[in-house]
């Protein structure tokens, strides 16, 4: 072997959280290894042990400030089962759904406008100084404002249902702690038509972009994969609740309508030495073939239909592109994300017109349990929370498979594919070429904040210095 060159993209930017890509090249600039690493750990699974169960929905959302509602609700769903609340009151379930669709709306708008639109509007190798939301705001102020105002609308819904835009407290074991007043409702109804218009136009931007560039996007970072999500018992897309379904790249069912309490029988996660993020796979298929994708693309692929008319029409149009088969184009995530954006505003509209939101019966309780699983379809895919609690109500075990972790193998395949297609053998590796790799990663909307909950390795030697360069601490691994 000749000399090896190492190229790193660090940090991966315009994604949420901390990630890094490493490429190893030989003397002819052939890519010999391409990896996506999650480089941070925090240790939630261990350090929440010993905390009381009722604290968990507000504690674990600090995993992630981008999708706190997802963790808040997945944990609350698990805690519902812990307190024996097997069926929530209509008011409680609908307030939670409103909170969830509010977050879906804000998160998808944030990702599309604030984080990805610069790549789509300016090109993958545009000047990095302007290839960001500020560049968009200067060149396309109207579009930037639409993105900002859509996100704001979703954030305001979260605030009205959870109490705060980030890290709210609305969901509690067995229900919620407030309903939605008529006055609050009317504020949202006032702007809803505007939101519909903007969501439709965002969907058109994503669709037109994909169709116009289809030849380039089809192979870009793409490969066949399995897909997994929750679906409702009638096969409809349901982002708040359902059963597990997994399908192959050409649409055959691997399993269907699995009660998610039994997720451990179907899924497992492989540990690799070079990433803090584990690699989940479907047990029956094994680590080599059992990996899968989650998130908007997977959900539009797995569901039989969407139960709101505008999004359903958009889904049909999307599926027509692949003759009704699952779509495996990585960059099609953007299009499907905008289908869900539209679906979310349709759902918000439905809910705002529902009198149950003003209900006053908010909490139920039943017979206490000591173990529970809560799942939800978060903006970035299926999110798993699993807890065991002792008789005093203290957590003794926690297992979290966050949405982004499910896509770990897919990130790595995408990075490898782009490296092989665009970087392999190229004499001069430019910033623009490296941004191609980040474009591929961004398509999934990874939430690396979420993905860093696992615990990592002790340091070998770590030295801390103060601002004067004095050593203030030094740790050596035993």
């Amino acid at each position: 072997m000749g000399i090896t060159k190492r190229v790193v993209i660090e940090p991966v930017t315009r994604v949420e959280g901390h990630g890094k890509v490493s490429l190893l090249l030989d003397e002819n600039n052939k890519v010999t290894q391409a990896r996506f690493h999650v480089v941070e750990f925090r240790g939630f699974e261990r350090f929440i042990q010993g905390r009381p169960y009722w604290e968990i929905p507000v504690l674990v959302q600090r995993l992630c400030g981008i999708c706190p509602v997802s963790h808040h609700l997945a944990a609350a769903k698990a805690m519902d089962r812990i307190v024996g609340a097997d069926k929530l009151t209509p008011a409680a379930e609908k307030i939670r759904r409103l909170m969830h669709y509010g977050q879906m709306f804000q998160s998808h708008a944030l990702h599309f406008f604030h984080l990805c639109s610069p790549d789509l509007l300016f090109g993958f190798d545009a000047d990095p100084k302007t290839r960001n939301i500020i560049g968009v705001a200067i060149k396309y102020p109207e579009l930037a404002i639409q993105g900002v105002m859509m996100r704001k609308y979703g954030q305001e819904i979260i605030k009205a249902t959870a109490g705060k835009k980030i890290h709210g407290t609305g969901a509690i074991p067995g229900g919620v702690n407030k309903n939605l007043s008529i006055a609050e409702r009317d504020i949202f109804l006032k702007d809803i038509n505007q939101m519909f218009d903007w969501a439709k136009s965002a969907l058109n931007i994503a669709k037109d972009y994909t169709l116009k560039n289809l030849d380039k996007l089809k192979p870009f970072a793409s490969f066949d994969s399995n897909h997994l999500s929750l679906v409702r018992s009638d096969g409809a897309m349901d982002l708040y609740h359902g059963n597990l379904r997994a399908i192959t790249a050409d649409g055959k069912k691997i399993f269907d309508q699995v009660d998610y309490s039994n997720y451990c029988d179907y899924l497992t996660e492989e540990v690799k030495s070079w990433s803090y993020m584990k690699f989940p796979f479907i047990k029956s298929l094994g680590p080599k073939d059992g990996w899968y994708r989650v998130g908007p693309l997977a959900r539009v692929n797995t569901c039989d239909f969407i139960d709101t008319p505008l999004a359903e029409a958009a889904r049909k149009e999307f599926k027509a592109l692949t003759g009704g088969k699952p779509n495996n184009i990585t960059m099609a995530y953007h299009w499907t994300r905008m289908i869900e954006l539209l679906h979310s505003i349709e759902k918000i509209n439905e809910l705002l017109h529902d009198k149950d939101l003003q209900g006053t019966d908010l909490v139920v309780k039943g017979k206490r349990r000591n173990e529970a699983v809560g799942l939800i379809e978060a903006p970035r895919g299926t999110l798993f929370h699993h807890y065991k609690v002792d008789d005093n109500g203290l957590i003794v075990m926690a297992n979290l498979i966050v949405s982004t972790t499910n896509n770990n193998e897919a990130f790595n395949r995408s990075v490898q594919k782009v490296a092989a297609d665009h970087i392999d053998g190229v004499a001069k590796i430019t910033e623009g070429l490296l941004n191609h790799i980040e474009v591929a990663i961004r398509a999934y909307d990874p939430c690396l904040s979420c993905a860093t909950h696992a615990m990592g390795k002790m340091p070998l030697i770590v030295t801390l210095y103060d601002h004067n360069g004095n050593e203030i601490d030094r740790k050596i691994k035993e």
Binding site: V8, P11, T13, R14, V15, E16, G17, S22, H37, V39, E40, F41, R42, G43, E45, R46, F47, I48, R62, G65, I66, P68, L110, P128, R131, N132, I133, I134, A137, I145, V148, M149, K152, K165, I166, H167, C264, T268, E269, E270, V271, K272, S273, S275, Y276, F281, H386, N399, S449, M455, G456, K457, M458, P459, V462, L464, H467, I472, D473, K475
Partner: protein, 182 residues
């Protein structure tokens, strides 16, 4: 044209919520870009400092060697450094790990978890992974921090008022309702 002052932001051991709260300034972002240019930040693609910055906003404490390195870089390049949010100020929730033996934590996540598949009993360890600190440190124990903005996260309004005051060399006098400890 007058050169605009620059602002830079970093997320260390935080949840990104403080950055999201910064984006909760909503349409005021258009006013902000009249006032400042953005330098190194996870919301743009500037990965190395391009010059001296007036303000550095830091989210999160220090949990690994990279966090320390980034924080020191920010101290070097920014006139004013602000600890934004409880993680930067105290370590906050990530610091809950400070009282737990690391060995236990490793085994929990990579060997014992109910969905772990790890026939070779691997614990992640690679030269691409930064070394972890023995515990999570608040930013002010690593470098000098100039201002502290409490909250988990501080609201968009609080961040907005603080940044505007700092840019105008005004005292940081936030109204009572904007100061929240959660």
């Amino acid at each position: 044209m007058m050169m605009k002052p620059k602002i830079a932001t970093a997320s260390l051991a935080g949840c990104f919520g403080c950055h999201m709260s910064f984006l909760d300034i909503d349409e005021r972002i258009l006013q902000l870009i009249e006032l400042v240019d953005f330098d190194k930040s996870p919301i743009d693609d500037i990965k190395e400092f391009t010059g001296r910055c007036a303000i550095g906003l830091i989210e999160g404490g220090c949990a690994n060697e990279d966090n320390v390195h980034v924080l020191q870089e920010f101290r070097k390049h920014c006139d004013i450094l602000v600890s934004v949010g409880d993680c930067a100020i105290t370590g906050d929730i990530p610091a809950l790990r400070n009282n737990i033996p690391l060995k236990e934590c490793l085994e929990e996540a990579y060997l014992n978890g109910p969905t772990v598949y790890n026939p070779e009993k691997i614990i992640p360890n690679d030269k691409e992974l930064p070394l972890c600190l023995d515990r999570v440190y608040p930013c002010n124990e690593v470098v000098k921090m100039d201002y502290f903005l409490p909250g988990c996260p501080p609201s968009g309004d609080a961040i907005w008022q603080a940044v505007v005051a700092l840019l105008n060399n005004k005292p940081l006098d936030l109204p009572y309702e904007l100061i929240k400890y959660d």
